[in-house]
Symmetry: C2
Subunit: 92 residues, 2 copies
């Protein structure tokens, strides 16, 4: 069994995206090497325009840093830092 542990663990954080300003936290967490799962439903209810702008910026940012991004179900997006890849299959 692989029991390797890293000196610094990678953190996985999950939180809601409530407004456009929240994407700064996502950027900061990704830059710190965290994996982020955001639930964007609060922003759907608030403003579809603000949601579109936020998601667009998150996509661009994840590409810029060499990370990965994918939809998870109806309500969430996963964004990863460089070094963490999302395995694509039909059921994601």
């Amino acid at each position: 069994m692989s029991q390797k542990t890293r000196e610094n663990p990678i953190y996985l954080k999950a939180y809601p995206l409530k407004e456009y300003q929240d994407i700064q936290r996502i950027k900061d967490d990704l830059e710190a090497g965290c994996i982020v799962i955001v639930r964007f439903t609060p922003l759907v209810k608030k403003s579809v325009e603000e949601l579109a702008k936020s998601v667009d910026e998150i996509y661009k940012y994840s590409t810029t840093i060499g990370g990965d991004i994918a939809r998870l179900g109806e309500d969430r997006i996963i964004i990863t830092p460089p070094g963490v890849k999302i395995y694509r299959e039909n059921s994601i």
Copy 2:
């Protein structure tokens, strides 16, 4: 900006838990160092008893390997290998 990349990327996989036998795949993926997000709703519909048995075994396994485990929303569980920790906050 932190642009560190590892020689071997960590994979994050998401798939449904349809029956008790599927937990072997979860164990194999964790042992290979993957992060796993399982959607357990298909098993809720099939058998609550089978679901309870599966979740119990996944919990025990994640503890045994020194990984981490947390509920994500209504329908999913995140399980991580050693070296990946789930950041706890109210909104997970």
